[in-house]
Symmetry: C2
Amino acid sequence: MTEDIVVIPGDGIGQEVIPAAVSVLETLDVDLSFTEAEAGDHVAAAGGDPLPAETHELAANADATLFGAAGESAADVILPLRAAVDSFVNVRPARTYPGIEAVRPETDIVFLRENTEGVYAGHEDRLSEDVSTLTRVVTESASRRLAEYACEYVTDRDLDGFTVAHKANVMRETDGRFRDAVFDVAEANGVETDEVLMDALAMHLALRPEEYDVVVTPNLAGDVLSDLAAGLVGGLGLLPSANLGPDRGLFEPVHGTAPDIAGQGIANPSATVLSAAMMLEHLGYDSAGQRVRDAVETVLEEGPRTPDLGGEASTEDVTAALVDALE
Amino acid sequence: MTEDIVVIPGDGIGQEVIPAAVSVLETLDVDLSFTEAEAGDHVAAAGGDPLPAETHELAANADATLFGAAGESAADVILPLRAAVDSFVNVRPARTYPGIEAVRPETDIVFLRENTEGVYAGHEDRLSEDVSTLTRVVTESASRRLAEYACEYVTDRDLDGFTVAHKANVMRETDGRFRDAVFDVAEANGVETDEVLMDALAMHLALRPEEYDVVVTPNLAGDVLSDLAAGLVGGLGLLPSANLGPDRGLFEPVHGTAPDIAGQGIANPSATVLSAAMMLEHLGYDSAGQRVRDAVETVLEEGPRTPDLGGEASTEDVTAALVDALE
Ligand SMILES: CC(C)[C@H](C(=O)O)[C@@H](O)C(=O)O
Ligand SMILES: CC(C)[C@H](C(=O)O)[C@@H](O)C(=O)O
């Protein structure tokens, strides 16, 4: 069966790392067909919608979508794309790799971030000259759906359980509901849980990241805490992510457009290639996914390396090395 | 003039560090009169309100209040106490001290956290079986008031300016308003500003904390980011904070009740003593405040040290050393 993959390079280094990932995917013995679609600042600058309806439509119907990055228009592109694939969870693993400098090399955490609501549901109003409001939404159903996934995630991987991070001491009704729903589903599935306040977790991650494995969070908490974890493992350059829905997924590096190096052909493609590995696994090609991961690890360890990792190689050099490692 | 100081030890190590700070304050040549008030879990356990009306009243009328910590009831105690002193800003400096182990010793940041609204304004509803909401509130007036303070803060200290952290790419109306109001006030005061998204800042703090000096944030962002900074400088044990209103203030260590060591007489009083120094400065006793800071630094460097800092001293030993250093 051919898998229909939509690729959306977007802006900046997205234009460099997406072709790199496609080259890597093309060396595999997996039947993938690629359709390229447009999105981002450059589309808006040309008078279009940063997320053209056609791109939205393609992502909503593809087997999977691989996304690069978008600039100023990021929120207008990535949030509707996540919705297009009906993604209820954003999976964000943060770990270090041998030989990569990191503030906290012990970090090895996967965030399972709620991906549809919280402040992102975003009903905002200007009530008066002085007062603006935002209605934060938490539903039982989205919380339970995330929790079901989290249970499956830890059970499939023989992990001990997960930690729920929240701020239910202040957001008693909304985060309280999130926490209770997640605990309830975990209990029904015989999965162990503990909990931590999101502010305390930010401190603990700096001090003792090794104490956390899988962290289940509301949307904004997951946004901030996973970026923090990225900092602890050395930056965004190596971090992949998966936005999963019931039928399809959207896979993207956690990094942005990197305007400072865009266009120079020196972007590190690792995060996007690792996102492609998550895509393969989501599509059921576990061993191909594992081979891609192994190739990334080998090249990270042995080189060549792009300048962000202290090397002098180009995106093309690294891509060629990845392809070599896979052949 | 006698300054009326209300002291609220609260729960756990609050009962140990507040008396320590009072002993230190009593050695100074400043006319302070202390009134002790009750709050916390132990009051609730005895059938009372965790924040008795009498305590609220005392704090609302004192020249300043020094608070220890509260346990499970923390939110029910500290949030109304902040409101009692009409506190619009929570000042949270995070820095390391010579000889103290830290993940990121370069960190030297002051957070100026909005202290009245955001999700803490907390209008929550259960709209249906499935849906709960929280109305996040941002006002022009609170944002401007915080910004006025931030401008004064950097101008008084001859600092270059400040950074505004927010999530206005998603919370466009509310955080957009916060950002615009703060920028507007800064511009009118000739204060330089830059901005960063709160998720990006969490990452930057792990990677390059030395790039930030003064960070102005909405309420929850300040909560999480200042705890993160606490982690980067070695934990909460040394971090003071000030909740300031137009006429009075509430001063508290950032740490909690530390149930694991409470009652053993080994709590580190430094964070509370540093909070007392902030209190002195707020009351206008700048040189007394500076002397207290110097004493804390001397004792941190030369010992004795409590177990959290690798020593074997008691709270009493450290307090005696502080008193010695001041005499
Ligand atoms: C661009 C922005 C809307 C997005 C988010 O907040 O989710 C980004 O920070 C991320 O985490 O992918
Ligand atoms: C106890 C809690 C309500 C409080 C807060 O969220 O403000 C605490 O985390 C703090 O930062 O002082």
